[in-house]
Symmetry: C2
Subunit: 158 residues, 2 copies
């Protein structure tokens, strides 16, 4: 029965049906570009008062170890990240990059499981086994920078 | 005469008229995020075939010392940059970052001279004295990373 059906449908569709997974629909827009900053006030001043962008108030996210300011730029945003608490995930980065720097970029995907499968099927390692809930309350997964041209690439379910 | 006029118009408007410059209208969208990559083929494969984004053919830009692939993502794009020729501006970066990495971000401005004046008035240094014509054929200016939270920030006239 399966062999007969396989002759009628394409190999890729077969794979989706019989493995119980859908084909990854591809990435959407860039959700944000994250910049780790040593001084949140002066970084906010640059984007708000010097460059004239619309910026949010500072948002403390203690469960993620950062305080964030969102800078709206077209259909994406810059997120200025400053360490919050003793175990911030960006403290090590700022230890190595005293002036701050580009920390990661985040692209949107429709379904995080499909996206992660597409990545791992192609040998791209992820930093955790399973997606986690990110700073925006949605499932996210970070890909290994060594497999992404030195870029810490975050995928976020849109 | 000038004193009398100044009483009728706002101080900021005065400044614009009498200094002969317009007020900077603020940044627009992010034009691109540049990623320096050690292998253009594998980087293109990641974005095109694994992540399913729309990507351009490789574009050699010998006068800028790079070969570029454009990755369309929403209203902005990633530009994958690979060195071209002996004096590529990204060779040093790739020497320090063997896997590649986030190189710079570019935001659009309506008028490059107004934008540069707003920056220099606020103590932000630029990498050259005057704007140059960038890879897209438009005037661009790079700001000093030490004044921009460790980020190489490019302004491009839209």
């Amino acid at each position: 029965m399966i062999g007969w059906m396989q002759k009628l449908i394409s190999p890729s569709l077969c794979s989706c049906i019989f493995k119980g997974t859908r084909k990854f629909s591809g990435v959407g827009k860039i959700n944000h570009i994250a910049i780790a900053v040593p001084n949140l006030e002066s970084a906010t001043n640059l984007y708000k008062n010097v460059l004239g962008a619309k910026v949010s108030a500072a948002m403390p996210l203690p469960e993620h170890g950062v305080t964030t300011v969102f800078v709206e730029l077209g259909d994406t945003k810059i997120e200025l990240l400053h360490p919050l608490g003793d175990r911030s995930p960006i403290s090590g980065f700022l230890g190595k990059n005293k002036s701050g720097g580009l920390h990661h970029i985040c692209v949107e995907v429709e379904n995080i499981s499909d996206a992660v499968k597409a990545l791992t099927d192609n040998g791209i390692r992820t930093l955790t086994e399973e997606p986690k809930i990110g700073a925006h309350g949605k499932p996210v997964m970070f890909c290994h920078p060594k497999d992404c041209d030195g870029v810490l690439l975050e995928l976020e379910e849109s």
